[in-house]
Amino acid sequence: MQASNLRVVDEDREATGLFVAAPAGREHPQPTGLARTEDVLRAAPRPPSAALPPPPSPPYFRLLAWARQHLPGYVLAACSLIGLVLAWHLATKYKLDFYIRFTNIPTPGEVMDKVAQVSQSKRFGTHVVLSLRRIFLGFALAGVLGIGLGLLIGRYKLMRSLFFPALEALRPIPAIAWVPISIMLWPDNEVSIVFITFIGAFFPILLNTVSGVQAVDGVLLRAGRCLGAKESALMWHVILPGAAPQIFTGLAVGMGVAWVSLIAAEMISGQFGIGYYTWEAYSLITYSEIVLGMITIGLLGLLCSGLIRLVGKAAMPWLAFSTQGGER
């Protein structure tokens, strides 16, 4: 902090001397007696490194600093997870029956055996792949439509009055409530599950995009317009990136709801998929498969939202320096 402030002041002072010279990169008619751009550039050689931060400290210190900052967090996280598995193990091993009954619940060991077993067969993998495909299709559709429609609704009053009432009427209906209608609506079971997933993801993405667009700073729009940006360029270069942080919030929430909707749909109407697998295990009284299904669903959900966060970070590198927001 301190160092960068000092650097800034320094920069301002140096710049004065430089700006005395011609600041135009193009051919302005130069009255005699004024410096030409090229001369100025030659006259004021300044290594660009002059204002760069000081060289980093030796690796040992950096490692220590890193450890001091992050290690406590990792240790606590590990304790938390180990504690959970331990509690599960004890409760199931001693068949805890204290209003809630652990009598039929498999132990962690039994579930691990199941993992080894299913990794031999292809059936389990098929379930996972099918669920992922449904998520991908439903979510991609929701992303494209939600962001596209959200940009239009957020930007244009007409679009808002046209689409919003209808969308607001549909919004309170949870995706799961669509299951029966969806089965009747679509010719194919697969399509109807994708549709349910889509419904789940669509509204969070849409609403966040709309509010993201509306929150774009008006001065940036003005700046864009007086730099010559037409409406389409404004949309692409100003409004979309301006709304991007909230769009990604919408995507993350949408991904969560998509999984909820998918699992419910698979349990009710599916023939394949990890939700179906879990429900089938219950019907067939193979208890360790239920828990395996649950854990798999959790991990897949984690994977998907992690992926979104990763894409968000890569797509919005400027946020690393933003002073907005509470948590760093």
Binding site: D12, R222, C226, H237, P241, F321, T323
Partner: protein, 289 residues
């Protein structure tokens, strides 16, 4: 378009301009019957009490607002909307946070369809001259306030506008940085000879930078006075202690003071205060009785 000779271009003419804001049915005149000129290559400042319509005036010339009455011409043609022929520097920071410093500067050229290579080299030249080349790949959030505003100026210059419109561009800066920025600006203008319409609260700033200063009245804003600044060019910081400079500042201060008092008068008139006191006294009496 940009090949046309600069001389004789960039003339802003405002004729009998009135701007009326309508809000919930009632309407107020922010600017009333203003006529003024910025000659090609001239540096003109506009000062006036807060709320007198300075930003409104600038937004009209920038093309963000339409006149309710009167005409605004740029080189004889009415202003239709915002465009790259008028560079605007805003009071708030207005760099795109998602673009690097260089991409920000390139933006206007990109909108004109200039090729990526030409854009980059133009932007780097300008940034080099502004002493910001080392920061070309930084994001705006990594810069200090003064640097951001300098990038803002460079960005507005990149499309070679004929006029620059600046709305209190240094208002958010501390006084030292401000002085440095004024020097940068006057040197830059000396080289480019653009027409500049500069809005400020700061009387010293207006005198130091300008060829002419317009003083506006309290709302509805009219032109109260037009003061030529006969200080020689190039301007240097030591001029700020010259007798001419100080006399001009004093003259402008008294003009502004009258208007600021007039602006306050509406809300804090002596009679209003008296009434307030009396009613309080009355209440006090009642409580005692």
């Amino acid at each position: 378009m940009s090949d046309a000779p600069k001389a004789g271009r960039g003339h802003i003419a405002i004729r009998d301009l009135t701007v009326r804001y309508t809000q919930h049915g009632s309407s107020i005149d922010a600017v009333s019957n203003v006529s003024l000129d910025v000659q090609p290559g001239e540096f003109v400042s506009i000062i006036g009490p807060s709320g007198c319509g300075k930003s409104t005036l600038l937004n009209i010339v920038a093309g963000f607002l339409k006149p309710s009455d009167g005409k605004v011409l740029l080189d004889g043609a009415p202003i239709k909307g915002p465009g790259a022929d008028r560079g605007v520097v805003f009071q708030q920071y207005s760099l795109f946070p998602w673009m690097s410093v260089r991409k920000n500067v390139e933006f206007g050229l990109k909108m004109q369809g200039v090729s990526a290579n030409a854009r980059t080299s133009a932007a780097r030249t300008l940034l080099g001259l502004a002493g910001l080349l080392a920061f070309e790949n930084h994001y705006p959030d990594q810069l200090s306030g003064g640097m951001k505003q300098r990038v803002g100026i460079v960005r507005a210059l990149a499309t070679s506008p004929q006029v620059m419109l600046m709305d209190e561009p240094f208002g958010a800066l501390d006084s030292q940085t401000r002085v440095v920025m004024q020097e940068i600006l006057t040197n830059m203008w000396q080289q480019l000879r653009l027409s500049v319409m500069f809005i400020t609260h700061d009387i010293e700033e207006a005198v130091f930078l300008s060829d002419r200063v317009y003083v506006m009245t309290a709302r509805p804003g009219r032109i109260k006075a037009e003061i030529p600044i006969p200080l020689p060019r190039p301007r240097t910081p030591d001029m700020t202690s010259s007798p001419t400079f100080l006399a001009l500042v004093r003259q402008l201060k008294s003009l502004i003071r009258e208007e600021s008092l007039a602006a306050m008068g509406g809300e804090l008139g002596a009679r209003g205060l008296e009434g307030f006191d009396r009613s309080l006294a009355g209440e006090g009496m009642q409580a005692v009785l």
